[in-house]
Symmetry: C2
Subunit: 206 residues, 2 copies
DNA sequence: CGCTTTCGCTACGAGTCGTAGCGTAACTGC
DNA sequence: GCAGTTACGCTACGACTCGTAGCGAAAGCG
């Protein structure tokens, strides 16, 4: 995660168990305290490590929470459900299930808010979370093209722009529904959302 | 804003100028410091009021920032641009222009993050920001129905669900594009987004 | 002029921040 | 086994912010 040089084989190695304990303690503290009341000293106590150890590995609260939250999104998958509509519904419900967890809700939005004033943090979010999940869009689109549900895009640059648009629409709508409107993303909503999105994709040929 | 009893006519009245100065100072501090480094003592100094005055009017940082940010969104309008597609593009670009301002970016996301653990704050955001702007969706939809671009929805409950879905899709996509993907919402993006959304609405008959 | 409420100011204990210094623990290469 | 190197736990520190209390003065109302 923060090992820049893979060739550092002398001296006492960093405890991988401590890394895991710290990230887990961070998520636990996010659930109980939320972002603003979370303190690094408290996290260190929960994880059973010294506060100084925490500062040696992460620059601050922002970077720590990004890493703690990023792990949550790695469980996203895109099993083939037979149709593009079903695939969209499935990933929407999966994404919503993650956002149901309080550590994801408060943590994710808080670091996004902080990233508006911190270019390095924005880059960290992009590589740790955004780009890692954008693969699902590309994968779903390729599958739909195989099925003949969507035309195959030949221009790679247009394909990238289309994938970015779809990603922003899907993730944005789910996040907004969950956090801002504060209403549940249930199967009915997912079905109606998928219908609108799919209709738009078919109409515009993206 | 926080006057619960309109009948409080005895004693020295609260200075309305102080209210305006505090909210303006809050936005200024959000630009310079961001959410996490913003302190109420600093805001009070900028506004030229005592720190205690601030605490007498707002319960804390969250409530103050909600009020300071909510004012930014009141400038949203929906002039008739002749077609539903043009109306959507217009409101997307307006919304994006507001989110271009740093005080809106960091402030809005931060209070949303905090609201995940604070029911009262969530309600404050809903009444101060969300519901106030949802009117644009209803207005645009009615106009489109007049033009014959969309069928008129008879069931009021279905109409409300449709408006909520559209609102989440529009606002969510713009916010996600701006803050998470950190890429600009320009005219090209707005046009492509409006095309997909409009195609979806036409296909599903919402 | 009395009454009431707000205002600016000062001061306070409590809590957090990020860092420095120290002795010890863990692992590597000779 | 022994030096060399790095990570670790612990303690202590000044600086800062928090939210509140108490005071006298100011601003309206009857």
């Amino acid at each position: 995660m923060q090992r820049s040089t893979p060739a550092a084989r002398t001296g006492r190695p960093r405890s991988a168990a401590a890394d895991a304990a710290i990230l887990e303690a961070t998520r636990e503290a996010l659930v109980e305290l939320g972002w603003s009341k979370l303190t690094l000293g408290d996290v260190a106590t929960r994880a059973g490590v010294a506060k100084t150890t925490l500062y040696r590995r992460w620059a601050g609260k922002n970077e720590l929470v990004v890493d703690a939250v990023a792990e949550l999104f790695d469980e996203l998958e895109l099993p083939d459900r037979g149709s593009l509509a079903a695939d969209i519904e499935g990933v929407v419900l999966q994404f919503a299930a993650i956002l149901d967890r309080p550590e994801a809700r408060s943590g994710l939005m808080a670091v996004v808010a902080e990233s508006t004033r911190d270019e390095a943090l924005r880059e960290r979010i992009r590589t740790s979370i955004v780009d890692r999940q954008k693969r699902l869009v590309v994968q779903g689109r390729a599958r739909a093209a195989c099925r003949g549900e969507l035309p195959t895009e030949t221009d790679p640059e247009a394909a990238a722009r289309g994938a970015a648009l779809i990603f922003d629409m899907v993730a944005g709508a789910v996040v907004h529904r969950t956090l801002v409107s504060a209403e549940p993303v249930d199967e009915d909503w997912a079905r109606r959302f998928a219908a609108v999105l799919l209709g738009g994709l078919a109409a515009t040929g993206i």
